[in-house]
Amino acid sequence: MHPCPGTPTPLHSTVTETHVITTSGLTKVYRSRGREVTALDGVDLHVREGEVYGVIGQSGAGKSSLIRCVNLLERPTSGTVTVAGQDLTALAGRGPRAGKELRRARSRIGMVFQHFNLLSSRTVQDNIELPLEILGKAGRARSLKALELLDLVGLADKAKAYPAQLSGGQKQRVGIARALAGDPKVLLSDEATSALDPETTRSILQLLRDLNRQLGLTVLLITHEMDVVKSICDSAALMEKGRIVESGTVSELLATPGSELAAALFPVSGERTGPDRTVLDVTFHGEAATQPVVSQLSRTYNIDISILGAAIDTVGGLQIGRMRIELPGRYEDNVVPIGFLREQGLQIDVVGREGEEPLLVKEGAK
């Protein structure tokens, strides 16, 4: 059975239905020299326990403000932030300074940064011990924990090195180890891979994925790279001008007709090769993707199918994606095969049919 659109799909064992990060009506307005800039405009975000949640958007969309509001590095103008059942906005008080309660809550939220933000005056080990110092842990316990974490991120031999002696990827591993030192339930990742080359990006994402699985860590990440969402996120949200315009699990998004995120995650292109042909976008999500529907279609109706383009991926252990296929004959001739595909639980969008100049063509043609 394929999952119905709208039903949250448990993607892997660590994801539960508990919301561990919730923002409601989050608004952030910056005032400078009498001008007001709205960075966040009523953002409602729900991150489930144990999932990797990606917020994607262009620069200036408000992603950074959003993630900074989650641990209140930025004070939201209005709205609430709840992390692990604790209303942080209530802890914050009125003044600009973080009180003891808020600081304690922050220490249970890990954060990694685009530019790593390691202290250059401290060794790798001392950097990882920093959050433990803040928690008031004793010296011996600190160094044991730091070494254990270094082992976890694969840098056991770098304990005594200074950050300047490490490569970008190694620095980010240290950053991740440091973020985990306080045994957080939640990890915030602020463009953690944006300063890294593609290969290093992959290895860091893999590490985040492993930590998410091994420790049941909930990860909220913001990024402007679609690949990041594609490779590790269970759920994603698209931000534009301070608002979340789309959100959901990856397969939910894919099942949403006209979803910009789905189109960007699984771009398909290809023009009709001639008149009297029907071009279909087939969206796979759930179990249907594992069945050889295309060859079944071909055999059952004895038609030749050409594949114009496809973007199929394994996301969260399930095959999902899109394929653009071309059938001979006009739409009217292909009603039955299309019905067959729909019966298989696939979502079918007919491309370029009169009357509906579809979004998909534009998206696909990019």
Binding site: R97, R103, R106, F113, A164
Partner: protein, 247 residues
Amino acid sequence: MTWSEMQPVLSQACWDTLYMVGWSTLISVVAGLPLGILLVLTDKGGLLQNVVVNKVIGQIVNIARSMPFIILMVALMTFTRWITGTTIGREAAIVPLAIGAIPFFARLVEMSVREVDGGLVEAVQSMGGSTWKVVRSVLVPEALPSLISGATTTIIALIGYSAMAGTVGAGGLGDVAVRYGYQRFETGMMWITVAILAVVISLLQLVGDFAARSLHRRTGRSGGLLLFRPLRGIFPGAVATEAVKKS
């Protein structure tokens, strides 16, 4: 004047200068460091943002900074007498020297601390660190090489000030240069004090630079041993092997 006549005068003068500069440096570092940090913290967008405090401290620092030292010295005489009981001698000179140098060093501290990457502050805040923790583990250690350079500059400025203090009876090398070199036309004495000052200042600068740089080196920002740096231009291979080692 023979060397045997000059020698005791000079060694006493050196000692007096050292005494004045040493104490006033200590006082101005102890007082200027927190003042400089406070200037950063209370500034707009700072951790302890407080426009009034910032403006008041900033104004005081500016006024004290722009005051010619010789006038400051005279203006502070009542205050000096209140503290040390006298306005003459090396102890008395320490008061205006320190008060002149505190705002000077505070501005240098402010500049150094401002250079510290705001992301580091944010990182410590995200771990739940207090403002005090931010100051102690980020602002001061990260700015340390630059703070040491600032302290060196302050010491050298204080040597200059201390020569002026010499003219109002504080003793020291400046006093010797004026009394012997200028008033008694002992040109030899004059040149010796000039030479001593030149050597002392060069040495201080050298030590200060070395200390600052070795801290930089430890943290790797300048990269590689100083000794090998010129070699890079000549042997690009040396850089390549280093890069391999890093990765």
